[in-house]
Each structure stands twice: as structure tokens, then as C-alpha cells.
């Protein structure tokens, strides 16, 4: 009996300790105060408030294919890649929700490939995960210890305070893609129901914040096809959104022999140049954005570009 | 028994075989040394040591090794 009592006391005290620590680790500063620092996870949070013109939401296709630095250099428009490898649409929605707190882009591109990615885990797994994240927020915020512990360390240890790539990954490797007829006609593949629900949430968030939402399918030989194009077109029609598929008839003239890093799945730097040019031009022609290359408030972008250019060698 | 101690001393002279009780566990006799030991025992005492008997319990002290040899001689 004494042991049962001891165990219960142990758990109770543990609970209290967790609550106390959680309190200390909950994000206190509002996200807006972050300033220009490099944060490893939500990189976009490191950007100055309201400085991003357009955001591209997607997966590895986006961070391999769209280089915001190229767009900045040629058009003076600020773009950020909000993309993670094998990103699920539920994650995209959460990331966007978080980003919109400090940024108010006028336009968002959404990568169609994400619409078709289904998670391997059953829904109950996510419910369970969400549950314990809600009741034990410490599991979400525990990494904040980095903000509060050892803060006396010289901050010059933080190499590159400026985020240079803005979400892009610079890869020069080249492996030719061979399946040139990957867009031959086939039956429509509908976007999975669960993903449609999340897309609806993203759409609503855009409406609420006055953001123009554009659907886009970037060049992708391995997992894109005509059926998915038709499914995405349907979705675009339903929400009355513009949809650009860059796979049909290869409008960007991608040379799959030299411009892919992994036999057609992703573009490499060479391919990214073409895609980024297209995005930049498209953004310019919307007339929603100004060329800020001479704007002193955006000096850090010019600085970043210089470092970026160095890294291209 | 003296012959056994002789053999052991030749293989690894730095050990006090009269008193040491963890020849195997203390790595005074490693696997290759045990091989040499078995080879010498088999030659000198005319027994065959089956592999199931090659366990730390049988080789951890000179006394235990001797007990094993005696047991095998009787079979």
C-alpha cells in the first residue's frame, strides 16, 4: 500500500513539474518579434514581418525547382518556398496557418503534387498525436529550451543570420529522365477526399486573408500524369482558381537529359533556373508587386543574393 | 594437474593459475588461447573435448579444467 501511495505521489509531482516547465517553454514572444535570424524549422518565421510577396507551398518539387534568389535578382519580388520533403497536405495547411501570422503574401502557389499524397498512417494515429500534443503542449514547444538556456553564448556563433536560400535547395547533380511520354492521356484521377477537405481549409484561409491562390503543377516525370492533371483541373474549376500545369507539352522546355537530378523526379539547379524565371515573370505580370531591388528595406535580400551567388560556384 | 599448469603457463605466463577463478570471464584465456589449450590437452591427455563442454564454467579455473579432463577420461 505504501508503494502504491508512493507511485501516485511520484506521478502527481511529475505532472506538476511538467506543467511548470511547459509554462516556461511556451512561446512568449509573439512571432512578429523574431527579426532576421535563422530558425531551423519554420524558416519563414525568420523573415522580417510582411516582407514576403508570394509564397509557394509544396513538397520537394518546390524546394528543388523554385529558387527565390533567382526571382529576386531578376524581378525584385520576394518569394519564399514553404516546402518540406514528402509534405502532407495537413502539414502544408498547418505551416501556412503559422506563416500567415507574420507574413501577408498577396499570392500563393500551391503544388498539385501535394494534393495526391496520402499518409501511410491511419487517421487514428493522427488523432492520438493531436490529442497528446494538445494536452501535453510541451511535446510541441520543448525545443524552445534553445531560446532560454545558454543564452549568454556569443551570438556570432550563429553562422549566417540571413536565410540565403529562402527555402530552396541548391543541387547540381544531373541524372537524365527517360519517360518523355509521361503526360499521355489517361483517365482522370480524383484528388483524395481527405486531402480535398484540407485544401478547402487552405482556400478559406486565403479568402480570409485576401490572398490570391493559384494551383500549379511543376515539371515532374515520376509522380505526375495526365490523370492527376485532370483531377487538379476539376478542383481548380470547383473553387474558381487559376491552374497552371507545366507538364503538358513541356511549356518550360525542360531538357530532361540535363535538368533533372534524379531521372525525372525533381529538377536540378539548371531546371530550377527555367522554372524560377517562369514564376518570376508570372508574378511580374500580375502587377501586384513592385520591384524592390533598390528599396533599402530589402537590402538584406541583396546581401543574401551576394552570398547565394558565391555558393553557386 | 601439474602438467596442466605447465601447459597453461606456456600459453599465458602472467597468470596465477593456482588461485585465479575467472580465466575466461577476465579474458586471461581468450578464444584463440583456449583453442591452443584444447589442442594441447587433447594431445597430452588423450581426451576429446566436445564443443558443448567449451563453456566458461569449465574453463574459469585450473581446478575446473582439471575436473573436466578427469570427467572425460572416465568416459
Amino acid at each position: 500500500m505504501k508503494n502504491v501511495f508512493k507511485s501516485i505521489m511520484f506521478m502527481i509531482i511529475l505532472f506538476f513539474l511538467i506543467i511548470i516547465i511547459t509554462y516556461f517553454l511556451l512561446p512568449r514572444d509573439s512571432v512578429r518579434k523574431y527579426g532576421i535570424i535563422k530558425t531551423s524549422v519554420y524558416e519563414i518565421l525568420g523573415e522580417k514581418e510582411d516582407s514576403i510577396d508570394a509564397v509557394v507551398i509544396g513538397d520537394s518539387l518546390i524546394y528543388s525547382g523554385i529558387s527565390p534568389m533567382e526571382i529576386w535578382h531578376n524581378f525584385g519580388i520576394t518569394v519564399f518556398d514553404l516546402a518540406k520533403s514528402a509534405e502532407l497536405i495537413s502539414s502544408s495547411y498547418k505551416n501556412f496557418e503559422m506563416a500567415i501570422k507574420s507574413q501577408h503574401p498577396k499570392l500563393i502557389f500551391f503544388e498539385g503534387n501535394v494534393l495526391y499524397r496520402e499518409s501511410k498512417n491511419k487517421p487514428w494515429f493522427y488523432v492520438w498525436e493531436e490529442l497528446y500534443k494538445t494536452y501535453f503542449p510541451i511535446t510541441k514547444y520543448h525545443n524552445n529550451w534553445k531560446k532560454y538556456l545558454f543564452t549568454n553564448l556569443n551570438d556570432s556563433m550563429n553562422y549566417s543570420k540571413i536565410n540565403i536560400y529562402k527555402g530552396f535547395k541548391y543541387i547540381t547533380k544531373s541524372k537524365p529522365g527517360k519517360k518523355l511520354d509521361y503526360m499521355k492521356e489517361k483517365e482522370k484521377i480524383e484528388v483524395p477526399k481527405e486531402n480535398q477537405e484540407y485544401f478547402h481549409k487552405i482556400y478559406e484561409l486565403c479568402q480570409k486573408n485576401n490572398v490570391k491562390l493559384v494551383l500549379i503543377s511543376t515539371p515532374n516525370m515520376k509522380s505526375w500524369n495526365y490523370g492527376k492533371y485532370l483531377g487538379t483541373k476539376d478542383l481548380a474549376l470547383k473553387y474558381n482558381l487559376e491552374y497552371i500545369d507545366l507538364n503538358i507539352n513541356n511549356p518550360l522546355n525542360i531538357d530532361w537529359k540535363t535538368e533533372s537530378r534524379d531521372a525525372g523526379s525533381h529538377l536540378n539547379y539548371k531546371g530550377a533556373l527555367k522554372l524560377s524565371q517562369f514564376i518570376g515573370k508570372y508574378l511580374k505580370e500580375t502587377n501586384l508587386f513592385t520591384d524592390k531591388r533598390e528599396d533599402s528595406n530589402y537590402a538584406s535580400w541583396n546581401e543574401a543574393y551576394d552570398i547565394y551567388k558565391e555558393g553557386l560556384k | 594437474m601439474e602438467k596442466l599448469i605447465e601447459i597453461l603457463e606456456e600459453l599465458n605466463p602472467d597468470v596465477d593459475y593456482e588461485n585465479c577463478e575467472n580465466l575466461v570471464d577476465g579474458r586471461y584465456l581468450d578464444s584463440l588461447t583456449i583453442l591452443s589449450l584444447i589442442s594441447e590437452i587433447e594431445d597430452n591427455f588423450g581426451v576429446v573435448i566436445p564443443t558443448v563442454e567449451i563453456i566458461p564454467d569449465n574453463f574459469n579455473s585450473a581446478k575446473k579444467i582439471w575436473a573436466l579432463i578427469t570427467k572425460l577420461e572416465e568416459e
Binding site: 508503494n3 511520484f10 509531482i13 511529475l14 513539474l17 511538467i18 516547465i21 517553454l25 531551423s40 524549422v41 519554420y42 492520438w128 497528446y132 510541451i138 511535446t139 510541441k140 520543448h142 525545443n143 529550451w145 534553445k146 538556456l149 545558454f150 553564448l153 556563433m157 550563429n158 553562422y159 549566417s160 | 579474458r27 581468450d30 578464444s31 584463440l32 583453442l35 591452443s36 584444447i38 589442442s39 594441447e40 573435448i49 566436445p50 564443443t51 558443448v52 567449451i54
Partner: protein, 528 residues
Amino acid sequence: MSYFDVIYFLAFLPGVIIIYNLLPKKIKPFILLLASFAFFFTYSKWLIIFILLSSLSIYLAGLTMQKIDSEKKEAIKDLEIDEKKIIKAKYLNKKKIVLIITALFNVAFLFYFKYLGFFKGIINSILKLFNINGSLKIIHHLAPIGISFYTLSAISYLIDVYHEKYECENNYFKILLYLVFFPTLVEGPITRYNEVRDTLFAGNKTTYKSFCFGYQRILYGLFKKIVIADRLNIFVKIIFTDYMHFSGPIIFLGAIFYTILLYMEFSGTMDIVIGSAEIFGIIIPENFKQPFFSKNISEFWSRWHITLGLWFKDYIFYPVSLSKGVKKITSKIKELFGPRTSSLFMGAIALFAVWSLNGLWHGAGYQFLFFGYYHFILILLGNIFEPLIIKICHKLKINRENILYKLMRIIKTCLLIFIGELFFRANNLTSGIEMMKRIITNFTFKGFNHSVLTLGLDIKDYIIITLSLIFILVISILKEKNIEVRESLSKKHIVIRWACYYALILSIIVFGAYGEGYVPVEPIYADF
């Protein structure tokens, strides 16, 4: 369900503990069996049929071999010595056939699931070499979880019963539990039937002490993996994928980090596994004994993955080195070159067999074979040169017991281990060789500081890693001195005790490398 999932240690395990303790003694082992089935199911679903077949095969083989033995005893009862010998041999042959067929049956499954593809690949290469058209299609099979481990346990039971080391088991469910027991299923330790059966089937109750000690050990394992291994993985993953972009020292650092990661993950798993079993009063053998305190490679392998080493020692090394064929050759060598050379030779052949198998056991790939032979050569050279080194130390009046000398040997051993693990982790043998080349040819510290701090880990991560490793080191030194840490801790004042436990738990929750931005380590030994 991984041992490191919250759902394992906060839901599954407590659930099993409760049900186990509510039911009577005789039923308790069945609860473990059911729990193990459920656990297996979360990994490999219907592939459970294979472990059922394996366990059934060794169960029947055991009974058969025992029957053959009793028939033999009947048959030789009143015979003369000469006749006895002939009849004995006949029955021994029968037993041997049962042993070989059953062993092959089990190994065949292992081969099919893990090595068929590799083997087909080799055939394809040979065909290409001879310009023969056509190649074998390689299909990827998902293997039943733990097959590399339980197959070895199964074979150990077979061989032990064959040698009449102990009597065969009459109860099939005991054999089944022996193989499928959920703590040892995924990554071992590789248990011997006679060593676990006393506690495994005893139906011991969970005591307050066994519960506390078990969970303390589980916490320690969680700490190792979630705070250290998962954190180091961020860096390691990048180095091993993109090695072409990094300088020699960075790549070497990657090898060091990987070795530490591997040890934390594997030994951490063992902590959870042994701790879990302890709660049910079941004693599982240790698999690690402070391996990085080893003074040479031989010693390393007696401290790292101990049960695997013991398995190879008992079932490959001694049988091969003391087999008739090898004995014949060695006696000739003994005549010609003396006893030392002959036993070295015996040992070398047996070691070669062991390391070929050990390498392959770790994976179906050339880099694993290379890994095996790398250690084979190191051990062999170590043994060949040992007398020479002892002589040199004598002449130079170096005291081998000197702590500095010992430290030097430990460092040398660690360096050799880091190199071995680099090849083990590399994507393939070619990458491994490339990485090694870069370490030697591109050994510049230019940009080292920059790389170290921009590959996913910042200075604060390194502080955590360092502090954690110091903690582990202290515990390891205590264990090396045979101090039972949990025992001594339990004797301290309750405030101190609880402070330590809270510190450990909260460290895992706060400093754990999980959540956004961190990708966990896929259990390295669990693709087995």
C-alpha cells in the same frame, strides 16, 4: 510499434503488466504470448506464419532427436563395445539428418527473405561478366520482423538438443514464446533456451522493485536514443548522403558520430528490452559491456553485441576449429611449424568462417562482407603480433598496466572501430571507399567550424550532446567497476532519488530530438 514509441512504454507495456498481474500464475506466460503476437502483428502482420513454422519445426525436431536418443539407449543395452559403437554411429547419423534438415529449413526462410535478392544480384553480375544475356528479376520482400534474431535462437536450441545439452521441450507454447517474446523479438538479445526458460515460464509476479527498476532502465534507454542518437542523426544523415561536399575531417566526424549514434540506439534498445522483461521477473542476458573501454578489437567483440559473439563462438568458431577436417590439417602444421602456428591457423580458419557469416548477417551487401573481413583481419593481426608487442614493451621497459598505455590502446581501438562503422553505414561499398579516400586525401580543416555548425546542429545541440555523453560515461565507469547503479541509487534519500528520476524524465521530454525539425533514427538493427 517501436520500443521508443510513447504508445509502447505508456500504453502497451503498462497494459500488459496489469493484465499479466491480474491473472493466475499458470496463465501469465500465455499473456506474454498473446502480447507478443499483438506486438509482432504491428510489424509484420500475417508473416507471423513464418515464426510459427520455425518454432514448430524446432519443436518437432527436438522431440524427434530425443526419441532417437532413447531408441539408441534401448538398442545398445546389452551389446558389446564394438557393436555398441556401430549402433551408436547409426543413431547419431539419424539425429544428424534431423538436425541438418531442420536447420536448413529455418535458414532457407532467412535466405529467402534477406539474401535472395543479393544472391540474384551476384548471379546477374556474373552473367554480365560473361556477356550472357538475361538477368534474374529481383523482387523486394518484406521480412518477418526479427527473423535474423529468432532464426539464430532457433538454431541454438536445435544444436543444444542435438548435443544433449538439455532435454527437449515438450510444450510447444514454451518454444513459441521463446522465439516470439516481444522484448527480444525485434533486436535480440539472442537468448539460449536453457538460460531463459527458468524465468520466462515461471509466471513471476511484478514486484514494486522489479517495476521501478525496469522502468528506470527503460528511461535510461529512452534517454540514450531520444536525446543523443536522434540528435546526432541529423548530422550523420547529411554526411553519409552528400559526402562529396565535405572535407576529410567532417566525414571522419560523421563516422565518429555514427558510431556513437549506433551505440546509443542499440544499447538503448537493449536497456528498454531488458528493463521490460525485468518487470515480469524475466532475466534477459546483457548485450553490451561498455564496449568503448576495449583495449583491442577482440575484446571489443566480447563487449559489443555480446550474444551474437557468443552465438558465433559456440556454434561456428569452436565447431569449425575443432572439426575433424581442420584438426587433421593443424596436426600436420603442428609437426612442421610448432603449436603456436598451428593453433593460429586453426583459429584463422574458424575466424574466417565466423566473420564471413557475421558480416553477412548484418546485411546482404558487399559493404557488410567487407565490414566482416575488416574485423577478421584486425583480430588475426592482433593475435599474430601480440607476442611481438609484449617483447617490444619488455625491451622498451613500457609498463602495459600503466594507465596512459591502456588509454592509448583504448583510443587506438576506438579509431579502428570508427573506420569500420564508416563502411558499415555507407550507402554501399563504393561510397565507403570514396569516403575513406576523401578522409585521407582531403584532410583540411578549412571550413570545419562552419560545416560543423550549419549541418543541422547548432552550438546548443553540441552542449547537450557533450553533457549527455559525460553522463553516460559516468554511468559506464560505475558499471565497469561492477557498481549496480539502480541498487545504490535506491539506497539514497528519497529526495535525491526522485530528483534523479525527474531529471532524467524531464531531460528526455525537453531535450529530446523529436518533433518539428527532427527526424528519428530508424532502428538500425531492426530491419533484421
